[in-house]
Symmetry: C2
Subunit: 355 residues, 2 copies
Amino acid sequence: MYKIAVLPGDGIGKEVIEEALKVLSAVSEKYGIEFDIKKYLFGGSAIDEYGTPYPKETEEACLESDAVLLGAVGGPKWDDLDGDKRPEAGLLALRKSLDVYANLRPAILFSSLKSASPLKDELLKDGLDVLVVRELTGGIYFGDRGTEKIDYGYKAYDTEAYTTKEIERIAHIAFKAARNRKKKVTSVDKANILDSSRLWRKVVNEVSKEYPDVDLNHQYVDNCSMQLIKDPSQFDVILTSNMFGDILSDEASQLTGSIGMLPSASLRGDKVGLYEPVHGSAPDIAGTKKANPLATILSVAMMLEYSFDRLDAANDIRKAVNELLEDGYRTSDLGSGIILNTEEMGDMVLKYLKR
Amino acid sequence: MYKIAVLPGDGIGKEVIEEALKVLSAVSEKYGIEFDIKKYLFGGSAIDEYGTPYPKETEEACLESDAVLLGAVGGPKWDDLDGDKRPEAGLLALRKSLDVYANLRPAILFSSLKSASPLKDELLKDGLDVLVVRELTGGIYFGDRGTEKIDYGYKAYDTEAYTTKEIERIAHIAFKAARNRKKKVTSVDKANILDSSRLWRKVVNEVSKEYPDVDLNHQYVDNCSMQLIKDPSQFDVILTSNMFGDILSDEASQLTGSIGMLPSASLRGDKVGLYEPVHGSAPDIAGTKKANPLATILSVAMMLEYSFDRLDAANDIRKAVNELLEDGYRTSDLGSGIILNTEEMGDMVLKYLKR
Ligand SMILES: [Mg+2]
Ligand SMILES: [Mg+2]
């Protein structure tokens, strides 16, 4: 019995979560996996009820769960609140309290959505399926920083720092993920310049010895930003630091042209994970039934793969999504085809899962 | 009379420089601008003669010049030398001795070379002409760094630091460059996280007040890496730090698909500049007359614009290059057309300049 805390959040978050829960329940039936699923308030909806985006009750439930499934948070209603009282502050608090240090962002281009990619068709012949594994709790985003008055104006600084342990644990997650994929890790750094990158490369090389079945190569970050555009099919898993991962995961997402399709996972070593779509709460389309639930449904697939070790069920969901897209079903954000609303798209996934 | 030190360097560097010098001499005649041009050994060729890639004689000449024109350095002959004795070490020493703190990298897609871009045609309707202005002597590439033994393994760190003065001077270069273009600066930072970025944004906002004719907007670096692919025509001048500029200038270059066409300039405030093609010494094609001289010829155009304030002559060269490409003339790296060798391409630029 796996315990799942579900945080629908705000806007379309609530709508797409409903469809993801239908899929979870279908998977439970088909594979005989039992889930204990409970919903909790989070983000703006929690602010309205408790005055805080991440209430104690929600936190306790998340900490006791095997996985957390999140919709999306935020909206104009809460935009005037102070920084640390806004729905988005709940996201940071949630990630911190779960202590998830690995952010996994797959950039997958489903072949029937090729036309949405900004890249020319000939570059996508071999498809596009890159998983960016980004270190999430270290590096320059959390290092020592400050601003001091000097003779003329100011001097401001930030510190990029990594320890052997921080690099080891994220590297293990990347190599393990590669084992379920094409068995290739590209570690990205700036080792020709940075001390932190030289340590990164050394530790990744060490960890790779435990995964002789996985190929490892190294790329400098500036070269990687070119290679992603020039020849994206060379990549399987990209392993990188917090800052480089922030840039490269967004660049890789954009190559698919369909941000409404992209799931994500944030993990720690014991398989506990937080799963959420990359898209936001889209207040402009909330309530119109136009939201695309597939990113959240694909986040459920990641949950099955990474938290519950059920690659079979995960790939089953992915296959269903791929097939219904091939057959022309779309939500309105995906361009022309047989247009379905949020609920209809959820039902269509169920139908293809049951075929 | 402008003094130009010319450093042909190694490999195809020597070949493309010859063509660039023919263009300089044609410009001198057409516009009545006088140049005092002398060649000096640099890179591998200097190692062979003096045992060092940046000999004293070359340095003295560069320091006395108004501009330095560089071909390219390096080759297999010198690959086994130690790091600080290699041709590439000469590049760092050259930039340092000239004290150039602004690196300007235009990513221009000539409309007749659209097919080389990895981007779909519909994204390039409005062309692609982005100038990345990268801070070159500060930031994390030059900050305090170290690696220390800790209880378990090591901790390594690097420091991203900027002062008001460093940001001011690079901002002025970006705003001035924008005045000769579409009058738009996009400053790229990570001000939602980094102290150095918050100072960056504040100072850029201040400097912008002196350029009321230039529009300024700000983007986070991760968003910019997406926007470059999603909608490259939104950009005119991108102003950013050393590290972000390293990544974004390479990403922007790749969008053109024609690295053999890309010039660069490295400047300081007094208009002294170093001009060089982005491509390397390409030892594999050296001596075959296949080298494309256009990146070096376009570097001469940048020299005319930035060091000699002759936008008219600079644009004349750009127009000539654009027109001969429209008429189907190509070097072999540019795909099919009327294929010219290095010398023939140089002569063709002269012919179009004289029309
Ligand atoms: Mg980001
Ligand atoms: Mg670079």
